[in-house]
Amino acid sequence: MSLVPGLLNYWVVIILMMAGLWVVVAQDNLVKKLVGLGLFQTSVFIFYISLGKLADGAPPIIDPASPVGAYSNPLPHVLILTAIVVAVATTAVGLGLVVRIHQAYRSIEEDEIHRKDLLDETSAGSKGHPNPS
């Protein structure tokens, strides 16, 4: 079976997954990290949807008039709807945290935040900065 044409979906999955993972690790900006996380999660969605589709499969609706040999599997689509909801919730919580981090640190770049945290931790007897509520 030829490697690229028949498995194009899975190549896309791999590329998106690696791109997303790279963005999460390499980008300092917190919003960009969340974008990378979203890319990573989207690749998994495409993976699930691809594995449900049969090559000659019909949409999974039973029509007594015209019986069909093979139906595509609808379950992965349902699983992915759940996973999309989880990803949306994760992004929402993440962005909420970024807003609060910006309020507290006046920055959303990870290296600046880390520098300020190190100052908090290493200055002797420091009580840190309060969480703005």
Binding site: L21, V24, L30, K33, L34, L37, F40, Q41, V44, F47, Y48, L51, P76, L79, T82, A83, V86, A89, T90, V93, G94, G96, L97, V98, R100, I101, A104, Y105, I113, H114, D117, D120, G125, K127, G128, H129, P130, N131, P132, S133
Partner: protein, 493 residues
């Protein structure tokens, strides 16, 4: 209505329904009362469930009446019921401790959200414990994790926000890895049910897809379990979160992820595939050993006590993983027992630290000179928890250390013996630092008795006393752990 036919779902449904009720009605005292009620009812149902499993064996509960493997099935065997009992009891203790601690650490307008979030974590963890469907386990894991991210961000220091964000990114990566693993398994077997997967996996065990699925699933779970080196989120998350959040997460969340790992290894893939074909112990044992040593070593040098005991948790998880990767009955018994006992130990320690924070406003060792004379009962609970962590006889920690050493010696794993011994010695070192500063240094101002209030002390001592009790009478903990290990190993191929 036949109440006890549905015992399997009460611990999941009750907190899940109570959380929006808390937010709907508003009012922090009402939210607390609702949470405590839900936790108590959950505790009663989990005791009933454990009794039912002892009487009639494994319970299969088909949600909505849809039969497995097409429907989602809750499969409650002895290990699940045991873990559910653990979660429910810790939840009850933490909620009874909550009001004064939360008043001191979290602003009044955020407390309703805190209680709702705690209930969601409780529901999620309970769901993982009883479910028999691997995708359902993923969903509950994410429910618990998302609520945890929000809860950690409620800490009083702004570093709680970055800790929560770091946990969010790492936790979501781990959860997505689990999702990929589930996808590979579904691809090869067409099912998501634990028992059905166990039936169908041996036929496809040679395929690289199955092996990839196993790898992704294990790495994702390892991140949630905070196995070294995927533990980096844990110290920050536990040290900056509010006390009851730290306690609840430290006592239950990594334990339930470890339970899920045990479930995947022994009930889904089976020990032959995991340890024979995939040689998981070649990865788990070295990493878990490093976790024991490095976690304990870093803990010795911490000034912030919450951080110290967070690193101690990393080391304890190392012990649990060593027990799992030994692949014998004694090792698995030791690990399951350690899951339960560690919740008691860390629960007592973190609740005591919360009481200290309530009184003196800090958990730094440098602020705690002579504290043992000012708050003897609180320090007593902390020290009992610490002794249990070391594994001193007459505490619960001794029993699981003993069984772990027994498992090592029975099967000639001599190389791990110095590692376990070194871990315990390092635990002695960091506990001694606490004892030395709090009991043997003079008080900076005066040594007046300013003990923590009873509502904080009683739950703390409840857990500390449980440590002592289960170190002496082990019928409940060890009996269930041994029986659960027998079921897990007997059911494996």
């Amino acid at each position: 209505m036949n109440w006890d036919a549905h015992l399997a779902v009460y611990a999941v449904v009750l907190p899940l329904l109570t959380a929006p009720l808390c937010v709907l009605f508003g009012g922090r005292r009402l939210a607390w009362l609702l949470s405590l009620t839900a936790a108590l009812l959950g505790l009663l149902s989990s005791i009933g469930l454990l009794y039912q499993v002892h009487q009639s064996g494994e319970i299969h509960y088909a949600l909505g009446g849809w039969p497995a493997p097409w429907g989602i099935e809750y499969r409650v065997d002895l290990l699940s019921a045991f873990m559910l009992l653990l979660i429910s009891s810790i939840a009850t203790v933490v909620f009874s401790y909550a009001p004064r601690s939360v008043d001191a650490e979290v602003g009044p307008n955020r407390q309703v959200g805190l209680y709702a979030g705690m209930l969601l974590v409780y529901a999620g963890l309970s769901g993982i414990a009883v479910t028999g469907d691997v995708f359902n386990a993923f969903v509950f894991l994410e429910i618990a994790s998302l609520a945890s991210y929000a809860l950690i961000s409620l800490g009083s220091d702004r570093r709680a926000l970055t800790a929560a964000f770091q946990y969010l990114v790492m936790g979501s990566l781990g959860a997505t890895f689990i999702l990929i693993g589930i996808g590979f398994l579904y691809m090869m077997t067409g099912t998501l049910n634990f028992s059905d997967l166990a039936l169908r996996l041996p036929a496809v065990a040679g395929a690289s897809t199955t092996q990839a699925g196993f790898a992704f699933l294990t790495v994702g779970l390892a991140l949630k379990v905070a196995m070294f080196p995927l533990h980096l989120w844990l110290p920050n998350a536990y040290s900056h979160a509010p006390t009851i959040v730290s306690t609840f997460l430290a006592a239950t969340s990594t334990k339930i992820a470890a339970y899920l790992l045990v479930r995947v290894i022994f009930s889904v893939f089976g020990s032959e595939f995991t340890f024979g074909q995939m040689s998981l112990h070649h990865i788990l044992l070295p990493l878990a050993s490093v976790a024991v040593i490095s976690g304990s070593l870093v803990a010795v040098f911490q000034d912030d006590l919450k951080r110290m005991f967070a690193y101690s948790s990393v080391a304890q998880i190392g012990y649990i993983l060593i027990g799992i990767s030994l692949n014998n009955h004694e090792g698995l018994t030791a690990s399951i027992l350690h899951l339960f006992n560690h919740a008691l130990m860390k629960g007592a320690v973190f609740l005591a630290l919360g009481a200290i924070a309530w009184r003196i406003g800090s958990v730094r060792l440098s602020d705690m000179a002579g504290l043992g004379r000012r708050m003897p009962w609180t320090l007593g609970a902390l020290i009992i928890g610490g002794l249990s962590l070391i594994g001193v006889p007459l505490t619960a920690g001794f029993i699981n250390k003993w069984y772990l050493l027994d498992a090592l010696l029975l099967h000639d794993w001599w190389l791990l013996l110095p590692i376990i011994a070194l871990g315990s010695l390092l635990a002695v070192v960091y506990l001694w630092r606490v004892i030395e500063v709090s009991c043997f240094r003079p008080c900076p101002t005066d040594c007046q008795r300013t003990e923590a209030p009873a509502s904080l002390l009683l739950p703390t001592w409840g857990l500390a006393f449980a440590n002592l009790y289960f170190g002496i009478d082990t019928r409940l903990t060890l009996g269930n752990a041994e029986a659960a290990a027998t079921v897990l190993l007997g059911g494996a191929r």
